[in-house]
């Protein structure tokens, strides 16, 4: 299983509300209705950002959504974008709402994180982290997992409403280049009123990771997850 993470910001002169409506009502329908493309995708989730915090050296774009596209393999993912229908129907629609200069594509590998209760949730924390030491990127996922388990052990209240916890390790680009971030911690939680606890979780993770995390390049997004294909968990 492979997962593609696409962060994007809206085009000029568009409000966030217009962007979200277009992505949900038009673009999602276009992808689902284009069978030669959608048959390669096992899941497609749009996550519409309702708040965020960026480090001082994080990307300058203020993202409006993050799409997660799942396929059985990297070959299937490539096959989907290589179809004539993708090139002629779906790709030309993307500039209607997403600013192509903002779009950031990263392949991810998922690993579950410890959690006492699992279940359905529709809100997401997407916490993008960069290792301080470029050479430590390979071990950073392990450090992130340890930090999460330490937070869970010592401050379980911040994870009270969390029903999904996944660590996404960013894979190098096709040419072997380092991705824009090293890991993305993904939590699914229940209510907007849980946001302060989720912010506390972020602060505790930053504290637990200490100097291993480059806070200036890291950022987190709070979003509503909309399943376009497949189910949310």
């Amino acid at each position: 299983m492979i997962k593609l993470n696409i962060q994007a910001a809206r085009v000029p002169r568009m409000t966030h509300a217009q962007y979200a409506r277009y992505a949900k009502d038009k673009h999602a329908r276009l992808v689902l209705g284009t069978e030669p493309v959608s048959r390669y995708l096992t899941a497609y989730v749009q996550q519409h950002v309702f708040d965020a915090a960026y480090g001082v050296n994080a990307p300058a774009w203020r993202y409006d959504s993050v799409s997660h596209i799942h396929a059985r393999s990297a070959e299937d993912m490539h096959a989907a974008t290589a179809t004539r229908e993708y090139r002629e129907i779906i790709a030309p629609d993307e500039p209607s709402f997403a600013d192509s200069r903002s779009a950031s594509f990263t392949m991810l590998e998922e690993f579950p994180l410890a959690l006492p209760v699992r279940g359905y949730s529709s809100l997401r924390l997407l916490h993008y982290g960069c290792a301080s030491d470029d050479g430590a990127a390979a071990t950073f996922a392990g450090q992130w997992t340890d930090a999460h388990e330490a937070v869970l052990a010592h401050s379980p209240r911040v994870l009270h409403s969390v029903r999904r916890a996944v660590l996404n390790r960013a894979l190098p680009g096709p040419g072997g280049e380092r991705p824009a971030f090293d890991v993305m911690g993904e939590l699914g939680f229940l209510e907007h009123s849980d946001v302060p606890a989720i912010s506390d979780y972020v602060a505790l993770m930053e504290e637990a990771l200490g100097s291993q995390l480059d806070c200036d390049r890291s950022f987190f997004l709070l979003a509503e997850a909309i399943p376009v294909r497949g189910m949310l968990s």
Binding site: R10, V11, P12, R13, M14, T15, H16, A17, Q18, D51, A52, A53, Y54, G55, V56, A58, A60, W61, R62, D99, R101, V195, S199, C215, D216, L222
Partner: protein, 242 residues
């Protein structure tokens, strides 16, 4: 009355919710404690926005705005007295970086001019349309063309005019520009900010028809007054601090 308007982007590491909560509860309380000569203070907490124009391939704006401050004084001496006061310099000013990135503040000193609308009312949601003047256009010509464009836009977009509950133009007063250094921004002052009130968030979208009419009018060379690529608007809720 003279006023100062400043659109703030939150500081690094802060969410929008944290920024507006701090702005209202902490910064607002500090300002209320010793207003000096300040007559009125309104915060406008942003809930959506759009920047620039689709025709602008360069994408000249990425600083998203979180809150817009409006400060009112009787006159320039009153404004100067507030900024010269030790409380402002030692308490209010230094608190700004706790929630805002002061280097990117979009601001101006302005005179507020109320304009008639067909169906006046209170209006719970507000558009603040920051206008960057067309390059080389004298300020008095900008003001004259903007006023005419507003009247024409209301006529060309009757649904927007009908939904509008109040309208005001904040026209730059250049004599006040020197006082803007208080906010520490590196951006040049905007030439104007149009404020338009609608009933609530569900009807505020009517503004887009008015804005589209403004763009059409502005596209005529003899009527052009602003630079859409460097202008923006926010949708906001007013919070009265003082």
């Amino acid at each position: 009355m003279i006023k100062m308007i400043a659109a703030v982007s939150r500081r690094a590491g802060m969410t929008h919710a944290e920024c507006v909560a701090y702005h209202q509860q902490v910064h607002g309380a500090i300002a209320r404690e010793q207003p000096v000569t300040l007559r009125r203070y309104v915060q406008n907490h942003v809930f959506d926005a759009a920047y620039g124009t689709r025709e602008d391939g360069a994408g000249q704006q990425v600083a998203a705005r979180d809150s817009v401050t409006e400060l009112y004084w009787d006159d320039f001496p009153g404004m100067g007295a507030t900024f010269a006061h030790s409380y402002t310099q030692q308490k209010v000013g230094p608190d700004g970086p706790n929630f805002g990135d002061i280097t990117t503040t979009a601001n101006l000193v302005a005179q507020e001019v109320e304009l008639p609308v067909p169906h006046p009312g209170l209006g719970g949601a507000k558009v603040m349309h920051f206008l960057r003047g067309a390059p080389g256009l004298a300020l008095d010509v900008f003001v004259e063309r903007w006023a005419l464009a507003h009247q024409r836009a209301l006529a060309e977009a009757p649904a927007a005019a009908s939904a509008m509950r109040r309208a005001a133009q904040n026209r730059q007063v250049p004599e006040g520009n020197a006082l803007l250094k208080y906010f520490g921004s590196s951006e040049a002052p905007f030439e104007g900010v149009g404020c338009l009130w609608f009933d609530d968030a569900s009807t505020i979208g009517a503004f887009r028809a008015y804005e589209a009419a403004l763009l059409r009018i502005n596209a005529q060379a003899h009527q052009a007054f602003y630079l859409p690529a460097k202008s923006f608007f926010v949708y906001a809720r007013e919070v009265l601090i003082l």
